[in-house]
Symmetry: C2
Subunit: 483 residues, 2 copies
């Protein structure tokens, strides 16, 4: 086997790519991972790690603790982790970490162009595309490049902004809004949607928007960025065909979505099918239309979370290393966690997936309000927060969970486990939850379901039998919804 021949080549050393490369190398398969920039990908460098460090610094320092210190600490920890990971992954047996830009020449050959201009061509039996995504840019007339931030550049500024305008009301915008506000910045959030977090059920926005207000973050819904006047530091936004001016805006963070890194990867040369918006089409084990070429993480249509990329990576390792094993389990529904204040976490199917598969009358929704229905919410003086569970009527099978509140990123995994193992709300009823915790709300959800079901078993059974095999009212979008 020549030096340039590998069992598996991974393009992109983010979380998912590293999971595959290290996994294969540990199984004794000679592997290479190619990285154009920094080891650790978005998560370590411009994603979870710096953002969660910033959020933690904002919690412990507040506005008085020195916002510059916070950003310094973010960079220090981020760089230390990056250096450690680069060192560690550079010394994994059977694994070559190669810096440069990887591009498929055909279905088996990858050209690597290093920053010094040198080039080499590698070949492999299996190739994994893990090139990730980047922030989608937005053209705001008059806004100089150095005043426009993305999730990549936001952690590089020397000082926290005087007035940070955030375009976009999604996960990244929400996390940064609370963090910078706590560090003392004036923060304005502008979204063209009619509410924040529009990909979640509307109850999430209903809980978060009062918290934005309580923290002094100005929210402009149904609004778009119009232009920026650099001399006056004024951001003009357009709402209902009127122009409003936001004064003293020194930075504009654009967080209007992500764009998959599909260009210059050589997908066409290798015959890999993809769609510019959806990404590389894959089966539930990450395999593209070319059987030995896989894709994972943000470059695929799957959820854009580090934990999803890692889970996909583990499945790819399983698939490549043990190709004769039957596909044992469908790809899971990935949970989500947003570290806003309060936090948002989800598990299970989306509303669209439920609507495509089940008749609406088969679904029973239980909502528990954490401030009034848990004693922890009472002792902690909580204003907003809930656990909402959509379950199958009568059987109590859990389909979907959305939780908003402190610590919900930790309690959501109980639901992930329950959904994966097919444990119904009857089973969750029997769990003893420590008092007083927010998790005791899970017991309340189960208790409510039982109270509303058991005294009406006859009518619940009739509804179940009528709607269990009834057609859903939303047509299924084939292929997307198999779980």
């Amino acid at each position: 086997m020549s030096n340039n021949t590998y069992h598996t080549i991974v393009i992109g050393a983010g979380s998912g790519g590293l999971t595959v490369a290290v996994g294969m190398a540990n199984l004794g398969k000679r592997s290479a991972i190619i990285e154009a920039k920094d080891v650790g990908g978005d998560c370590t460098n411009v994603g979870c790690v710096p953002s969660k460090t910033l959020i933690h610094q904002a919690e412990i320092l507040g506005a008085s603790g020195g916002p510059a210190t916070a950003l310094d600490e973010v960079r220090r920890k981020r760089n230390a982790l990056r250096d450690k990971e680069t060192e560690e992954f550079g010394h994994v047996p059977n694994l070559d970490l190669i810096f440069g830009r990887g591009k498929l020449l055909d279905a088996h050959r990858v050209q690597v162009s290093a920053s010094d201009g040198s080039e080499q061509i590698l070949t492999a039996e299996h190739i994994v595309i893990a090139t990730g995504a980047r922030a989608r840019p937005l053209n705001i007339p008059g806004l100089p490049a150095e005043r426009q931030l993305s999730n990549e550049s936001v952690f590089e500024i020397a000082q926290t902004p005087q007035h940070l305008a955030i375009i976009g009301g999604g996960v990244i915008g929400m996390e940064m809004a609370f963090a910078f506000r706590k560090l003392g910045s004036r923060v304005s959030m502008i979204t063209n949607a009619d509410r924040v977090m529009e990909r979640f059920i509307p109850e999430v926005a209903a809980a978060l928007e009062p918290s934005l207000k309580a923290h002094g973050i100005a929210l402009y819904t149904g609004a778009t960025a119009h232009s920026y006047a650099v001399d006056e530091q004024v951001l003009r936004i357009e709402r209902n065909a009127y122009i409003e001016s936001l004064d003293g805006v020194d930075y504009v963070l654009v967080a209007v979505g992500r764009q998959k890194n599909l260009e210059n990867v050589g997908l066409e040369a290798a015959g890999v099918k993809f769609d510019m918006r959806r990404g590389i089409d894959i089966d539930s084990y990450g395999r593209s239309n070319v059987p030995h070429i896989y894709a994972i993480g943000d470059v695929t249509p799957t959820s854009a979370f580090t934990h999803s990329a890692n889970a996909q990576g583990r499945r790819v390792v399983q698939r490549i290393a043990f190709p004769l094993l039957p596909a044992r389990s469908p790809e899971p529904f990935y949970p989500s966690a947003t570290f806003s204040d309060p936090e948002v976490a989800t598990a299970g199917m989306s509303q669209e997936q439920i609507a495509a598969r089940y008749h609406p009358k088969l679904i029973k929704r239980i909502r528990i309000d954490l401030p009034t229905q848990t004693d922890r919410g009472y002792t902690d003086g909580l204003s907003h927060g809930f656990i909402i569970v959509d379950a199958i009527r009568l059987s109590g099978k859990i389909l979907s969970v959305t939780a908003v509140g402190p610590r919900v990123s930790e309690l959501i995994s109980l639901f992930t486990l329950a959904i994966k193992e097919g444990l119904s709300l009857y089973k969750l009823y029997g769990v003893v939850y420590p008092y007083p915790t927010y998790s005791s709300g899970i017991g309340k959800v189960a208790d409510t379901f039982l109270r509303e079901t058991l005294p009406n078993v006859r009518s619940e059974l009739a509804a179940y039998l009528r709607y269990r095999w009834a057609k859903p009212q939303t047509p299924s979008r084939a292929g997307k919804l198999t779980a």
Copy 2:
């Protein structure tokens, strides 16, 4: 049925007692609940609710925010909840809430002595003893009564102490130490044990003691309170036969354990067996040796937590209301949560229970350190914390979990569910945990178990077969360990 005749009488309107009384009343059974003092019992009045409110106030106010405000807020919330509960439980259909001291005259008659001196005698088919427990007092020579605090009186003081000495290093002492320290009090903790939290595995103390130190809480292990000099405000403690003096101690909180309320309940008259230390002997459904007399909560040998009392209460309702149903499930191992900083949470069996049932070589212990082995610990700059799981070798069956760290009171319920449903570490391996959370440490535990087991399946299987049915090395204490 005369006015004084009930289906069920409950003595004691704490969490557990209320669960039974309301449960029976909701099933249409005429019930009475007798309370000598305040509705809500320890939890609402002198336990979880005021303590967690104080802990939360300490978190959000800190030393600068006004310690008096914190205690005022504690009392305000406590009283509001008590009033609300008193009102609500006073209006439950089929339920009489009766104030007075209840005492069994025989196995069916209960005498109620009200504070105005009036008396009445009630009879019932079923009687539930839920009289709870109280702080065990300690005689400290020279210490005036108004300077000695218990978990009952600690929330009544006007100002936070200048220097609070806490006798006892258990759950209550630990929670109060961190809360008052954060509110600005100087805090000294004195325990006669060689470590704090001695009922937990030693790793808990190893994680908490550095945190006590980091918070500036002085810890004296192997020490006892010797005497108090009221004029100098000096508490003398004895350690290694030497006397040390703690200056400026204005309050001494005694938290050296609990004493069950077994006196003046008429247990002897009713023929109910009990032990002054262990409490009322019950079967796994709360039934005493007298078949229609039950006991739940702190007055029983079971764990002294609100959630345990509630769970026991639900089981008693099930037992009384559906006596012909077979006992469907053994009494669960109750989880615990201590709201220290960091938090401590446990699920499953105790070390003693494991030792009594299994050969030590059958047990595999997995430890994950949250600061170094979870990215959340890294971004949050965590110093101490872990998840320790004791599982059966090879099978991965989970026996016992101890976790120390932020938010572990929320993540422990996943383990409670897994233990209850018999889900092994293999099943927990397959769960996708949101990144970056402390729960991802659960995935690391499972991953470590698999990595250490799968490459050595042959030797693990041999060990499993050898020790699975081997005698434990600690003799079982009959009856106590059936799960």
